[in-house]
Amino acid sequence: MKKKKVLIVDDAKFIREKLKEIFEELDFDIVGEAFDGDSAVNLYEELKPDLITMDIVMPNKNGIDAIREILEKDPDAKIVVITTLGQENVVVEALEAGAEDFIVKPFSREDIKKVVKKLFR
């Protein structure tokens, strides 16, 4: 079976590294990384990944707008929001915009695995 492709979007390098490590373990192909909303949208169009992990608070276009733009172009895109505790309002907004699910930082390998399993059953 072909490896699933994931695009990781987060402005913090530490989080990106952590996510990369976990997704590698889960046997994903990490096709790209973005640190702001603009590049997330561009990279999505270029790479057409099976999954995007999306931070919300980022420079140059926030995660919510990025989710909206991506889904407008491809309504089937699977986006999971990675967010910090205390940003519940924006999580609801992201879900409303069409994000599939959300994961709260700090996250464990298990948290990610559970969500991924749900999405790629």
């Binding site: 309002n89 609801v92 879900l95 699910d101």
Partner: protein
């Protein structure tokens, strides 16, 4: 502390149901159908409680027992049931001793088939689902939002107790309550995938088999007229009690208070016997929504909440006509045509909801629709046009007050009133009907969101079969059980009349008829001018100032005027003339 109390209560109640079940099982071959039904109820209660506690294994076991009991010739399954019951008991013991913590069991509910408690559900059933979330969820609002969103893709969600705006602000209600329509098993997956669910409670809210079963075996049929006789006898007992009050108070105060308590209790119980569940009105209203809705070119569903609330049979009759008017009103004025609703981003199917709630002294019924709401400006314009209020007056009152004018006699904002069949009755008539029941009605509305009518009627109303007559120019009502008969006044005025060969005295100069009544064991007559009606009336207690008039028993309202209920024998003594005694 609170949690422990629930735990204790749960264990205690479960044990009661288990021993109830055991007792029935011990009957073996000689078990009756009714006992099997009882056993079924024990199992069902166990299941419901365990589901709320998140004890999935007990849920499954009691569910299995239910199934075994509902099979034909359930007696043959007793062995199997006993086995399951003893396993169930062991689990309960473990839970009691703390060996089985709720924590592990919560997990079981989450990962196991948490919705196996759903026994039935076709695409047309409506269920109330309550989902209890853990307080340790990191983002409860987002979790609940996601759950509603995902479940909504699989099942029709009629309503929830969460508002999107609140969830965005991080405000949520726990438990999440939803009213859903369809096969609940379709959201089993969504429930399993959602973190932090501690327990789920599912209640079918339309006429489901279980509740039917309960009603059948718990009740017997009694003719309503028999109950009326019983009630009337109790009223006589009341009067007798009041008559002997002075002497008995002197001789044996203690006994008098006991007697007073007993008569009141008896009265209460008898009134209770005449109660019917509001559910009985449901079918008629559903048909109305379908037929009248399609007549008006609108799509409407009706939701009834609280149809278990019990009300007096006579109140139910009156309530049905009030609800019929209000439902028609909602369909006609409130609910928009499907195209218009879609343009506004609403579900093309409008919802009319009837909620009943029983309070300590009153019954509250709310009829709401999710339609366009009442157009306050149109009402203001109309009030001006009709000259009910002038410009200055209108400026002084706020929208809320303006809206209440829809109940005013002769007021109607509809351009086509009278043309449409069934629109002959306006809201003024509804208000009158409510007021006849000593109730109040008011309305709240939000433009674009809908309108809610709230009706509140007192619970304690005495219903009595009364004959209402005109006597010497006055309308009075007399309990029918005191009436012997009515005859034409075609005899010479001799102060006495012949009735079935018996000479009886009468009073009253006017009138064309004689109303013959019983006064203790004697017959007497009043001359009357007219019989207005003979019907059940909701009789109210007299205000204190009138209680001294011994012949007055109470009053009811007819066309906004009070009609007094009199005791003919006592009234006789107050009237001049005739051959008294």
């Amino acid at each position: 502390m609170k949690k422990d109390r629930y735990r204790e209560l749960f264990i205690e109640e479960s044990q009661e149901h288990i021993s109830g079940l055991k007792e029935i099982l011990s009957k073996g071959e000689s078990v009756t159908e009714e006992e099997i039904n009882e056993a079924y109820r024990h199992a069902h209660s166990l299941k419901g409680m365990a589901a709320t506690m998140g004890l999935n294994e007990i849920v499954q076991l009691s569910h299995a027992i239910e199934n075994l009991l509902s099979e034909k010739d359930a007696g043959k399954n007793f062995g199997e049931i006993e086995e399951k019951l003893s396993t169930l008991e062991k689990i309960l013991e473990q839970f009691e001793s703390g060996e089985l913590s709720t924590e592990t069991d919560q997990r079981a509910t989450l990962s196991g088939s948490g919705t196996s408690l759903v026994t039935s559900g076709n695409s047309r059933s409506i269920f109330r689902i309550e989902i209890f979330f853990s307080s340790s969820l990191p983002m409860p609002s987002a979790t609940i939002f996601k759950f509603i969103r995902d479940a909504g893709k699989k099942i029709e969600i009629i309503e929830t107790n969460q508002k999107k705006g609140d969830l965005k602000k991080g405000n949520f209600n726990n438990p999440l309550r939803m009213l859903v329509k369809g096969d609940i098993s379709s959201i089993e997956e969504t429930i399993k995938e959602t973190p932090g669910i501690l327990g789920i409670k599912v209640t079918p809210i339309d006429t489901d088999e279980i509740s039917k079963k309960k009603i059948q075996i718990d009740s017997i049929k009694v003719k309503l007229s028999d109950l009326d006789v019983l009630l009337e006898n109790i009223h006589q007992l009341f009067r007798l009690k009041n008559r002997i009050k002075p002497s008995l108070l002197k001789e044996d105060e203690d006994s008098f208070y006991k007697l007073e308590m007993l008569t009141e209790r008896l009265h209460e119980i008898t009134l209770g016997l005449r109660m019917v569940p509001l559910k009985l009105l449901e079918e008629g209203l559903r048909n109305l929504v379908v037929t009248y809705g399609s007549e008006m070119g609108k799509k409407v569903t009706l939701i009834m909440v609280g149809s278990d609330v019990r009300i007096d049979k006579n109140i139910a009759d009156r309530l049905l006509s009030i609800l019929t008017h209000l439902v028609k009103n909602a369909i006609y004025h409130g609910i928009e045509p499907p195209e218009e609703r879609e343009r506004q981003g609403k579900n093309p199917i409008g919802i009319i909801k009837i909620e009943a709630e029983s309070r300590s002294d009153s019954l509250e019924i709310r009829i709401s629709d999710d339609g366009r709401g009442i157009q306050v400006d149109a009402i203001r314009e109309k009030l001006l046009q009709k000259g009910i209020l002038d410009k200055e007056q209108l400026e002084l009152i706020g929208d809320e007050e303006v809206i209440q004018y829809i109940f005013k006699t002769g007021f109607s904002t509809s351009k086509t009133t009278g043309v449409i069949a069934g629109r002959g009755v306006g809201l003024d008539a509804v208000k009158e009907m409510v007021e006849k029941m000593y109730g109040v009605i008011f309305v709240e509305t939000e433009p674009g969101k809908g309108t809610t009518f709230t009706i509140r009627i007192p619970r304690a109303l005495i219903i009595q079969n009364l004959i209402t007559v005109v006597m010497e120019g006055n309308k009075v009502a007399i309990p029918t059980y005191l009436i012997e008969g009515v005859i034409e006044r075609d005899q010479a005025d001799t102060g006495e009349i012949l009735y079935h060969g018996e000479k009886i005295p009468y009073k009253g100069r006017e009138g064309t008829m004689f109303l013959i009544f019983k006064d203790r064991n004697k017959k007497k007559a009043f001359s009357i001018e007219e019989i207005i009606e003979m019907d059940f009336q909701l009789v109210r207690e007299l205000p204190p100032v009138l209680r001294k008039l011994q012949y007055l028993l109470g009053y009811y309202i007819d066309e906004e005027e009070p009609v007094f209920m009199v005791h003919p024998g006592t009234l006789w003594n107050y009237l001049p003339g005739g051959t008294s005694q």
